[in-house]
């Protein structure tokens, strides 16, 4: 009888607390493992679309970035690297100011100036670092200073069924750019059809933004608004049928 009481006493005072302690320790370990898995998965699931360009329109030649978060998770950009290939050992690290910059899922695209002035003919590698440790290289990188023909997107206007000998004029105008600085606008392209039912595509290099594309055919005109959003619209295209025109 006494032996049973002692055995129960040992069980209650030593073994049970020990089991509880071991279980809570294991639970703490499991919790930290799960947290690490969540952090790793969030890092993998993070998405950021970015474009880089040089501000030639205002003549400042500042290296500009647009950022857009198409994913499901908040993205926090902590800094941007601008590395001149002429001086790779002294990269410019852009942080502070607007950084860290929080980009909500599918929020507005954000345009930021890096404060770095591109030198003509110099190549720049740009990378964007997020709080989770992802490193993104924007489209448009490497950027060549003063290289006006390097645009991240191409807007194509296609004319079909043109009449021989008639002149068609396409005007491209930047409107409400949402902070984006378009380059060399407005632009005009004129095409004279040299054959009946001629087909012609005309391309414009553009930065992200909103554009008004208008056409003047023989005795008719039309226009359409095009949005160029990094990672969404890709290279947008407009097609006009010049016989069945509006």
């Amino acid at each position: 009888m006494l032996g049973t009481v002692i055995a129960v006493g040992i069980l209650v005072t030593v073994v049970v607390p020990l089991i509880l302690y071991m279980q809570s320790t294991a639970a703490l370990y499991d919790e930290s493992v799960v947290k690490r898995h969540i952090a790793d998965e969030e890092k993998m699931d993070e998405r950021l679309w970015s474009d880089v360009y040089e501000d030639l329109y205002h003549g400042t030649h500042e290296i500009m970035l647009t950022l857009y978060n198409p994913g499901e998770l908040m993205v926090k950009v902590v800094r941007v690297w601008v590395i001149s290939r002429d001086d790779p050992l002294n990269p410019i690290i852009v942080e502070g100011g607007v950084f860290p910059l929080s980009l909500p899922p599918r929020g507005d695209q954000v345009e930021i100036g890096t404060g770095v002035i591109a030198q003509k003919g110099v190549w720049y590698d740009i990378k964007v670092v997020s709080e989770r440790g992802n490193i993104y290289v924007p489209s448009g990188s490497p950027l060549i200073g003063g290289e006006s023909s390097k645009y991240p997107h191409t807007l194509t206007a296609t004319l079909i069924n043109m009449e021989k000998g008639k002149v068609y004029q396409i005007d491209l105008e930047a409107i409400g750019t949402g902070g984006w600085v378009p380059v060399y606008f407005p632009q005009t392209l004129i095409w004279k059809a040299t054959a009946e039912n001629q087909f012609q595509s005309l391309g414009f290099g553009v930065n992200p933004g909103r554009y008004n594309v208008s056409i003047q055919g023989p005795g008719w005109q039309d226009w359409v608004e095009v949005r160029v959003i990094p990672g969404i619209s890709g290279d947008p295209a407009v097609i006009w049928d010049c016989i069945n025109h509006p």
Partner: protein
């Protein structure tokens, strides 16, 4: 703490004698960097002399200068770090097995 330690090599640059590594602590605990090795890819990677090379707070980035005598080719960079509370200043190698090792490959052009 090992589960909360996380580090990336954010940037690497080279000159003739050194490698410049920018390390970024993306984990949940402060870290001590105890060793960095830069070696030719495909060859045995030496074990570093463990010592305190840098302290990295959470979300801190820091650039380290590491000797690199390899002139060109593919390189392996190995960074050893341990959570700061586990770091033993008298014996930096003591808790290495509770630390993390970050390895990356890069190419050096001579």
């Amino acid at each position: 703490m090992q589960q909360e330690s996380h580090l990336i090599v954010e940037h690497i640059a080279f000159d003739a004698a050194d490698a410049y590594l920018t390390l970024y602590n993306i984990g949940k605990v402060p870290l001590r960097v105890t060793g960095v090795v830069v070696a030719e890819a495909g060859k045995s990677v030496p074990t570093p002399n463990f010592q305190s090379l840098a302290s990295l707070d959470v979300q801190e980035a820091q650039t380290l200068t590491v000797p690199c005598t390899v002139l060109d080719g593919d390189l392996i960079v190995k960074v050893y770090a341990v959570a700061a509370p586990l770091f033993h200043p008298e014996d930096p190698s003591q808790n290495v097995h509770w630390g993390i090792v970050v390895e990356c490959r890069c190419h050096k052009t001579g």
